[in-house]
Amino acid sequence: MEQPRRITDSFPRRRRGSRRPPGRLKDKKDKDKDEEKVQVKVRDCSRSPSQPPPDPALLEMLRRFDLSWEYGPCTGITRLQRWERAQELGLSPPGAIRDALLEHRDNPDVTYRWVWDGMGC
């Protein structure tokens, strides 16, 4: 079965050449470099190129962590903040989740501040 659809799927995150300083497109020498950069961007879509994509089992585990009621509400805070709060309250959340969150820190699908309709940050 395909990956479960999320509300945020209607707003795909794309980083197209935002790192290129403006006004350098006209420079012929840098054109090849820019082409390479663009190609690399297309292949990797919205993830940082250095890390492998998180596998669906990990994302499923994180969603189950979000939905478990023992650790309190999950909206409006990042998963790591929720994990740390649960730890301080003595609810002993599983350590594997924290390791996974720290490993995939750059991936917004993993850090996931669960928002309603894209409101909040």
């Binding site: 009621w69 509400p73 909206t75 409006g76 805070i77 740390e84 709060r85 301080e88 003595g90 909040g120």
Partner: protein
């Protein structure tokens, strides 16, 4: 006490001036540390809902309440969550209270077009005989009835109830208990007389200037410019002045200029500007002589939600040049000479007053201490910052002095706890109305009011 030391030397007023005018050095500042870090907010984010603060409040207070429940009703009682309740079984449940009140102002009712209702005017009390109590835990809620005073309790209190679930789905309460006094702090108070002056509700910027003379008299007494050598030597024992909120009057809050056209309001200045200038001058006189802690209140230019952040020092240019001025948060917690002070400017107490049958401010103050929470009605009816990690209003240690500002009268009581706690409860009266401030003796935790009445038009002398 303060006045007893003064009277024997009253003859000094009618004697010729002495060759060497006596000087009374103020007692040195020793042992001050500010403990209000939990109330200081750094970067504020309002993109969170209030479910977090209720969740951490319940999970933070649950262990203490379970301990209290076991010590009160026996070690073998069944502690159940609402989802595990069985009809007819005697058990104990810990949860958050919610009071469903018909008269509670609701923004949804006000803007509801089908009702076409005029929004109800603010009432002094919103309680009604038809109010109901509902207990909530993490997942479910249940209506409460029985040996529980519905009128007295307010939303947001965490408590433990002991009883049985009825067949109709309600919970019949046989007994209930709160978190009770928090664990005591060690006592390191001073051995000689040291006084702290507590005043609140200076009310500057009001239309009538009657309280201004009394305010000036207060400043003169503290700085030692009033009275004979007896009073001056007593004033030298005042180590600190705490101004607990409402430094500005409610009149400075008028917002008619918003509704008027711009050309009419071009040259007008907000009333609070003049009032803050007056406040700066008063604080300057005080700060040159004694350390002052200034807490913001309901009508002061700072944020509305609790915890209120300190006033900004750019508003008080003259007084903030002195290191003796400390602008602090509301609620405020500090160690003065080994004595732990904790207090608010009174918004929490007056909010509970509106939604509870308790009439006496001192009684409400004592009740918040026994309930283990400074302000249970926040965020329901009192504005509060959406905390998510921990609730800083939970009382974890028992203070030695617990005060609230802007009360209608001065009242004080020394509360003794079972584990050796000694708390002095003080309701600081509104100075602009009563012209009364409080002097607390740190050595033996006694409190005394000091009134500055001036001759009004209706007095006889």
């Amino acid at each position: 006490m303060f006045s007893e030391q003064a009277t024997p030397m009253a003859q000094g007023l009618l004697a010729p001036p002495s060759a060497e005018p006596p000087t009374f050095p103020r007692v040195p500042v020793s042992g001050y540390s500010d403990c209000s870090q939990p109330f200081q907010l750094g970067e504020r984010s309002f993109s969170r809902q209030y479910a977090h603060i209720y969740a951490v409040r319940l999970s933070g207070m649950r262990p203490g309440l379970e301990c209290r429940a076991r010590s009160r009703w026996g070690n073998d009682i069944a502690l159940r969550k609402l989802s595990e309740l069985q009809a007819g079984e005697k058990c104990c449940v810990v949860g958050t209270l919610f009071k469903a009140m018909q008269l509670q102002p609701s923004i949804l009712q006000e803007i509801s077009e089908e009702h076409n209702l005029v929004p109800q005017p603010p009432l002094p009390k919103y309680i009604q005989p038809s109010d109901e109590l509902i207990l909530e835990d993490e997942l479910q809620r249940i209506k409460l009835e029985g040996a529980i005073d519905v009128q007295r309790l307010v939303t947001g209190t965490i408590l433990a109830v002991y009883g049985t679930e009825q067949d109709d789905g309600r919970f019949l309460v046989e007994d209930h208990c709160f978190a009770d006094l928090p664990p005591p702090l060690p006592w390191n108070g001073p051995s000689s007389n040291r006084f702290v002056l507590l005043a609140s509700g200076l009310g500057l910027g009001s239309v009538s200037g009657e309280a201004l003379l009394s305010t000036q008299l207060l400043v003169d007494v503290v700085t030692g410019q009033l009275g004979a050598e007896g009073e001056q030597s007593c004033a030298a024992h005042i180590t600190r002045v705490i101004l607990a909120g409402n430094l500005l009057s409610q009149n400075t809050q008028s917002r008619d200029t918003i509704n008027k056209a711009k050309y009419l309001t071009k040259k007008t200045q907000a009333a609070s500007v003049e009032a803050v200038k007056m406040l700066d001058e008063i604080l300057l006189q005080l700060c040159t002589s004694v350390p002052v802690d200034v807490m913001p209140g309901e009508f002061d230019p700072t944020n509305y939600t609790l915890p209120q952040q300190p006033l900004h020092r750019c508003m008080l240019p003259l007084a903030s040049a002195y290191a003796t001025l400390r602008l602090v948060t509301n609620p405020y917690q500090a160690n003065l000479d080994g004595v732990r002070f904790l207090g608010t400017s009174g918004q929490n107490i007056s909010d509970i007053f509106k939604y509870s049958s308790m009439d006496n401010y001192l009684e409400i103050l004592e009740w918040t201490l026994l309930a283990g929470h400074i302000s249970p009605t926040a965020p329901d009816t009192l504005g509060c910052y959406p905390f998510y990690k921990s609730d800083p209003f939970i009382l974890t240690e028992c203070p030695h002095v617990y005060f609230c500002g802007n009360a209608p009268h001065f009242q004080s009581k020394l509360l003794q706890g079972k584990e050796g706690q000694r708390v002095l409860l003080v309701t600081v009266p509104d100075f602009s109305v009563t012209q009364t401030a409080c002097l607390i003796n740190l050595r033996d935790l006694t409190c005394q009011p000091i009134t500055f009445s001036s001759f009004g038009a209706d007095s006889e002398d």
